[in-house]
Amino acid sequence: MSSPLRREDVAHVAKLARLTLSDEELDTFTEQLGQVLEHANDMGALDLTDVVATAHPFGLINVVRDDVVRASLDRAAVLDMAPDAQDGRFAVPRIMGEAP
């Protein structure tokens, strides 16, 4: 049985997930991920049209707390662990501008 997954699918997904893959990694991952998806064909063969999907074991209900002010994490302690910070904020490289 041929893999349902093509090399270009993996390259596309890697781009979406912000990962750079070498040619060799692309080959390996295409084969390995294809095996997992092939295994999932046992599910694909089932007719589950009338079955309701379960995203969470007990069903999620919104939980809200009272709207009262309380202490949060210390900003300095949080920023101290960031790769870069400036003026009480996380700092990142250029966002706008020419494409690299």
Binding site: L5, L16, A40, D42, H56, P57, M81, A82
Partner: protein, 474 residues
């Protein structure tokens, strides 16, 4: 090593001190950690402070709590304020959380002494600890073999008598499978029983923190401390911690226990033989054995390996070089994120992120993720039907005893099959315990798995205790 219950009793009575028990634990760690690679970080300073506090409370005539002076090892995907927390990933190397998980606060509040952070498969993705970016943990019973995973370090810490108890997380078997391979007790509690606040998320609808121990009583005692509603976790069950310790001696008289064909098929002969020996022990203790088949369980692996990666691909999007951990510099923010994630994540994490992204992507969502969620519904319904015929279910925890390093690293699908018997419980949000019972190939331990519906922990511990006694550990 003495049991956690005995240590706590002696510390509370003043027969020993928390400082002395900590020193014993640290000596055991120092003696074998280089060989076994169990701890990624030992928190000498924090542990000494916690022990001093317990000893001061005892001296003042106050009760430090049910785990007074008991050293405990913590899986390194659970945040502890100021203590390095890596998830065994380069992407979090050097990060020290600015807050503690609720379970850490509960442990400290009960007088326990967190001694350090244990190795795991990167982001809890794996069944052998071979996916740790910092090198694998060795099985204390046979250092040429894996301890199982992903909580391999926490299982090995207890098996090697470094700490009497430890905590791990179980998303598809990551507590029960290493417990089986290391010959100790491992518990996957009901979803929501233990707060996940401060557990670095892998698959949020499946993840659950739970205990490792050498005996059932210690496991029950530890879970009582960990469990109970937490307003910081919106999926936390609304009720207080259940009474577990009081029911450990309840036995199984009159209980119906279902042996599930799908939870032993494909397991090695030595494993199947021990499951059958466990059935005899339960029957001798007054249980009725029911034979069941739950064909839906065969679909668990397929559903899990779409649902868990889908949730992981979303949860791990936060590791982008902005707020914590590694950053690989680049000219613009997108290139920085891509360079950081490419350098920071290992192969298995990349595989699962891509699998999940694919399963959720336009055109494939219904066929893969959507179908898996429907199979999840079928599995929950199938368990519900089974629990009309049996109070508890039984099967194998893992298909084989501990395997050799490298045996499954080239074939992800073979590694995934290590969790084939443990995954269904996570998909259903229910509870299960792995109990060491007999031995197999090369004299290595075998784990028998007891499964129950949500909130059945007390009954599971009672049955586990019956097996423990039958296996010669009164």
């Amino acid at each position: 090593m003495r049991s956690a219950a005995q240590i706590a009793l002696d510390v509370r009575s003043g027969a020993t001190s928390a400082a002395r028990e900590l020193a014993t634990s640290l000596e055991a760690i120092a003696a074998r950690n280089d060989e076994l690679h169990v701890f990624l970080h030992v928190d000498h300073e924090g542990a000494a402070k916690a022990a001093a506090k317990v000893d001061r409370l005892v001296a003042e005539g106050q009760d430090p709590g049910p785990l007074a002076g008991v050293p405990v090892a913590v899986k390194d995907n659970i945040c502890q304020r100021g203590v390095p927390t890596t998830c065994s990933s380069r992407i979090l190397e050097g990060w020290r959380p600015p807050y503690s998980a609720t379970v850490i606060d509960r442990l400290l509040g009960a007088g326990a002494i967190p001694v350090g952070k244990t190795n795991l498969d990167e982001f809890a993705m794996g069944s052998s600890t071979e996916n740790s970016a910092f090198g694998p943990t060795r099985n204390p019973l046979d250092p040429t073999r894996v301890p199982g995973g992903s909580s391999g370090g926490s299982a090995a810490a207890v098996a090697a008598d470094m700490t009497p108890i430890s905590i791990g997380s179980d998303t598809g078997g990551s507590i029960r499978q290493p417990a089986a391979l290391c010959g100790i007790i491992g518990v996957k509690p009901t979803y929501g029983l233990v707060s996940r606040y401060g557990l670095i998320a892998f698959a949020s609808s499946l993840d659950q923190i739970g205990p490792f121990a050498k005996n059932v009583t210690d496991a029950a005692m530890l879970l009582e401390v960990l469990a109970g509603h937490d307003p910081l976790d919106s999926t936390s069950l609304p009720e207080p911690s259940p009474a577990l310790l009081a029911h450990v001696g309840d036995g199984v008289n009159g209980q119906r226990i279902g042996i599930v064909r799908e939870l032993v098929e494909g397991a090695d002969e030595d494993v199947v033989a021990q499951v059958h020996r466990a059935l005899d022990a339960l029957r001798d203790a007054g249980a009725t054995i029911v034979e069941l088949s739950i064909p839906e369980l065969r679909l668990g692996l397929s559903a899990y390996y779409l649902i868990a990666p889908a949730e992981a691909s979303s949860n791990l999007a936060r590791f982008d070089g902005v707020r914590y951990g590694l950053r690989v510099d680049a000219d613009d923010v997108t290139a920085m994120m891509e360079a950081t994630r490419t350098a920071g994540f290992g192969a298995e994490v990349k595989r699962r992120i891509m699998l999940g992204t694919y399963a959720l992507s336009a055109g494939y969502y219904d066929a893969y993720y959507g179908q898996a969620l429907k199979v999840r519904t079928q599995m929950i319904d199938a368990f519900r039907r089974a629990y009309r015929e049996a109070d508890l279910l039984i099967g194998a925890t893992a298909p084989s005893v501990a395997f050799a390093f490298g045996a499954k690293t080239d074939n992800p699908m073979a590694m995934y099959l290590s969790d084939v018997f443990t995954i269904p419980t996570n998909l259903a949000g229910e509870a299960a315990v792995s109990v060491p019972f007999g031995s197999g190939e090369a004299g290595l331990p075998i784990g028998v798995q007891l499964l129950g519906p949500g909130r059945s922990e007390a009954r599971l511990f009672a049955a586990a205790r019956v097996l423990e006694i039958a296996d010669g550990r009164p």
